[in-house]
Amino acid sequence: MSETALEARHLFKVFGRNPNQAVRRLKAGETRSEVADAGTAAVIDASFTVNRGEIFVIMGLSGSGKSTIIRMLNGLHEATDGSVLVAGDPITGIPASRLREIRRDRVSMVFQHFALLPHRTVAANVAYPLELKGIGKAERLAKAEEILGLVGLEGQGEKLPSELSGGMQQRVGIARALAADSDILLMDEAFSALDPLIRREMQEQLLELQQKLQKTIVFITHDLNEAMFLGDRIAVMRDGRIVQIGTPEDILTDPANSYVEQFVQDVDRARVLTAANVMERPRPVVSENAGPRTALKQMRDAFMSATYVVGRDRKLIGIVTDRDVVKLIRRGESTITSVLKPATQVVDEDEILMNLFIPAVESPVPLAVADAEGRLVGVIPRITLLAALGPGPGATGEINLPVLPLPQAEVDAILDDGWTAPTAGNTPTTSPTPDAPNEEITR
């Protein structure tokens, strides 16, 4: 899976009077502004590899050289120095006809302002790459219709691009790139011209499509949130140089320098960090074989009104509450299985924080985090969730607050016997049950 689809080796691009001289001087260690007299260095010594099937995001502010880089990946801009390899074949320094072949068959592109042909219908636009490949009209229009269905534009083929909204036009742009049936898709700020709501929708659709088609995508953006949301790996560019390449988490939690750090400062962490990044050691947790006294002790130590119960393989099987356990102790029972309630709010460890808020609010106990096998791997107290969104070092680690605030669930429990699960021992207890641990911490 980690086969290399696209590789850039020491790419340079200098616009201006004397590009080769500028490259020599840059290699000798001069800075971008020092060689300004010889030309404008748009890309300086950029090297990276893109693996088959991944979304590789190149991110930077305008003028950082990202648009120039992506145009060198399909030869729209000739590299001043260095080489680009598409699946091992160099595309730098090859004859124009060979380069056109590679563009027709292996690399296609989606543009910021869609770049559709306004005088052709949507279907004819999508069929354009096939037309260039010399495929017959009936066949290419049939294929175009099929691909329009894939991007959610079925039945729109006869319209002109100008009759569609921006988001729909860009779907045509994507459909056109998909029609070329190339393994590599270059997307140059593909969603930047769309308004934010549509942009989000398109990003999600792109990920959906990617799940189906498994293309290799190079995506250019100036929007860090977009980069974090889409990218399997991200390259951050500044002034023509790549300053860091890494997974979104690497970039966020371990910025290579102060520039990247500044950049990530206002990223929407809620969309990047996952439950696994912020969860804590599962704390009130007992084995299903444990007795009520052990359970109550666990709860008291953790200042919680309920505890998770796991099986022998650490699979989460439910929760028990302090009130129920106290009753068991009074009745002198020795197992807790009779008062076991299903855990209502369990999230996957790969879930992004954005999607944890509702479960966290609805859950009376810290949110349970389970892995793919259903094992309890951690919990997220609401306070941790909120703290993780704040800036600063250690924000993603385990957080220990000096005094835990009173969990909302307990207030609910005292006030109205709030959450009683539909199963097990539905015995309403209006009498004040021992809430000693909580009174202790609210002192």
Binding site: R71, N74, L76, R100, E101, I102, R103, R104, D105, V107, S108, M109, F111, Q112, H113, A115, L116, L117, P118, H119, Y128, P129, L132, K133, E154, G155, Q156, G157, E158, K159, R176, A180, L186
Partner: protein, 315 residues
């Protein structure tokens, strides 16, 4: 005193061309007079109202029924003034000159849009052609082709050429660079990009250039009359030399009426099918209405299908 006798040098060059390229000049002369004579013969062969009806139909096709009526009235005026024959001769001259200028100008414009060197060379040449008083072209043209319609047409072509080149170049270079890149990124050859992307997108600008070419050609028609070309221009020249106000006004009015017709028709070429009153516009609207109806029919079917699916799932 004349230290730098540029004029005499050019005169020597003209003599040399006359002496050595006589064959070529003869071919040009034959072809041009055949085209102009042929076209004016065609225009004058049928009854005049046949030509008027055809012109009115063209006006309706590209613009509106109002322009068609205007065309009938203005051509009727020309007939009423007894100027039908010279007017058609002038129309033939203008159309042929315009066609020749366009045939030369568009490839030149394309070439200079794609090549910076060509552009740099062509720019001062075009400036020269456009600003040199048009009469000056007549002198060598008469030397080359003697008196008649040919020198008039050659001078007209030279004078009318520049806007055709400029508009073509402007139109092609004005095509959105991302759209051109899109063509390149899918592996189109330069020729495919030119035919499939640049020319279609530049067409409105190029046609504006064609309109300019034809209007300039018409303004030259009078000057061509000086070189002896038959038509309204010749009448104007005659009117000047005899100080005949009536004849001058009538001939001038004829030029104006033809100019208005040609201008309105060629200006509409750039936005063909977009004028709501034109026949083409009506047809285009019908087509797109049918297309949209078909598209919405498809769109209607889709939700129905998914509804059925849902019902099946419920069942």
């Amino acid at each position: 005193m004349n230290v730098l006798p540029i004029g005499s040098w050019v005169a020597v060059a003209v003599d040399w061309i006359k002496a050595n390229l006589d064959g070529l000049l003869h071919v040009i002369s034959t072809v041009v007079s055949f085209l102009v004579d042929g076209l004016s013969f065609l225009l004058l062969m049928p009854w005049f109202y046949v030509v008027i009806i055809i012109a009115a139909l063209i006006a309706w096709l590209v613009r509106s029924w109002r322009l068609a009526i205007g065309t009938v009235i203005s051509f009727g005026l020309i007939v009423a003034m007894g100027l039908w024959v010279p007017a058609m001769q002038t129309l033939a001259l203008v159309l042929v000159a315009g066609a020749v200028a366009v045939v030369i100008a568009i490839p030149l414009g394309i070439w200079s849009a794609r090549n910076a060197t060509v552009r740099a060379v062509l720019k001062p040449v075009l400036d020269f052609m456009q600003t040199m008083p048009a009469f000056v072209y007549l002198i060598p043209a008469i030397v080359f082709f003697s008196i008649g319609v040919v020198p008039g047409l050659v001078a007209t072509v030279i004078f009318a050429l520049p806007p055709g080149v400029r508009f073509t170049e402007l139109g092609i270079r004005g095509v959105d660079s991302e759209t051109v890149e899109a063509g390149q990124s899918f592996g189109a050859t330069p020729g495919q990009i030119l035919r499939g992307i640049q020319l279609p997108l530049a067409m409105p600008t190029i046609l504006a250039g064609v309109n300019q070419v034809i209007m300039l050609a018409l303004s030259m028609a009078v000057i061509a009359g000086m070189a002896g070309a038959d038509g309204l221009g010749k009448l104007v020249v005659e009117a000047i030399s005899t100080v005949n106000i009536a004849k001058g006004v009538e001939a001038g009015l004829g030029v104006v009426l033809i100019a208005v017709f040609l201008d309105r028709v060629t200006a509409s070429l750039g936005s063909l099918g977009q004028h709501p009153g034109s026949l083409l516009g009506v047809l285009a609207r019908r087509r797109s209405a049918r297309r949209l109806a078909a598209a919405s029919a498809v769109a209607d079917q889709v939700p129905e299908a998914s509804l059925e699916e849902k019902e099946l799932q419920h069942a």
